[in-house]
Symmetry: C2
Subunit: 231 residues, 2 copies
Amino acid sequence: MNESNPTLAVSTVIFALSRAENGAPGALRLPLVRRIREPFDGRWALPGGPIGADEGLAGAAGRNLRETTGLNPTYLEQLYAFGDLDRSPAERVVSIVYWALVRPDEADAATVGENVRWFAADDLPELAFDHNQIVEYALWRLRTKLEYSRIAHAFLGETFTLAELRLVHEAVLGKALDPANFRRQIESSKAIIATEERLTGGRHRPPRLFRYNQSVELTDNGPLTRAEAAS
Amino acid sequence: MNESNPTLAVSTVIFALSRAENGAPGALRLPLVRRIREPFDGRWALPGGPIGADEGLAGAAGRNLRETTGLNPTYLEQLYAFGDLDRSPAERVVSIVYWALVRPDEADAATVGENVRWFAADDLPELAFDHNQIVEYALWRLRTKLEYSRIAHAFLGETFTLAELRLVHEAVLGKALDPANFRRQIESSKAIIATEERLTGGRHRPPRLFRYNQSVELTDNGPLTRAEAAS
């Protein structure tokens, strides 16, 4: 067997919810970086690059997030390692991909650098390398995890109304959901807990605020959580 | 930033169900390889090593499985990439870990090489590198996936009795399950479908055979399934 030691890179898919006109959660979008050298000079790509000698994999992904958006990671998880033989034209590159989820208030505070632009997650141009496939996979995982974990929480504050939670699900799934069905499903899943608080404002019957059931894990890293946090 | 290009390795956690005395699924075990050089000379480790110049990541993991057990992969999935700074004493190594699941009949046919031995998954010695942590994480993922996917199928034939399915769950979870509760839960999950067949044998009331609902995915690679198969 001829051994190969590929170049290792870390890339990060940064999903954010923009705000709709009325301040509610809007569409799912992500920042991309325009490449300024070959291969794929001029094409848009996921933020990423080599690993620093003194940082772990999650550390490199957190740096991607900071350098691209000025934000510090609150939700960051390893997605998948991509290593097909032909994914980079010149040299062999294996990319370990993380994903970050960014709340609307964090996205408001983001300051994107030169050569960075936000794109709608479901309407991307042809990206460099296999990055379209990577985003497609990240979207699939996000939508799958929405069904069995409290991942939508990463897009919300500590407390939220059922309408806000439904808007997050609608943005991630890319389709409208029936409010009554949604309420029934989410309440029967025991994923959220009603608080005694209600949304403040001048309304006659302000809606109740909910919080996530903390016994359901936000990320499913299991025994890895501490190791990841330390790297 | 000082860049670093770590050495890349692929390692594979190979979970098999041994047979109990009566031929039913028994305990969960995995093959380990004794290291014959530093670091960790003489310690047991997960099968693995460098990637071949002409193989993908899953291809390298499949080769690990073949070289260690003589088996060809039927269930093989990427688990996680481990890249903590201090996980290898001499040089920096990032390991992309796969897991393979092996049925009892496949395990019967396995031929392990020199320096390979089967160990009970819940009673391992101190392994080389961070391999104890990797196995702990793989066990956690296996147990978690058991709850929401048809992963137990990877340890069973096309059809099986409810008792056989329960024995697989018991082996993976490492605890006895109440047969009546198990039957209720598995039937309400719609994960399995009753066939018209019954177990052959001389019994008065042979138990009914079930099969998994094919609309529930075995692996959750989503859009990646084809890419992985091709690599």
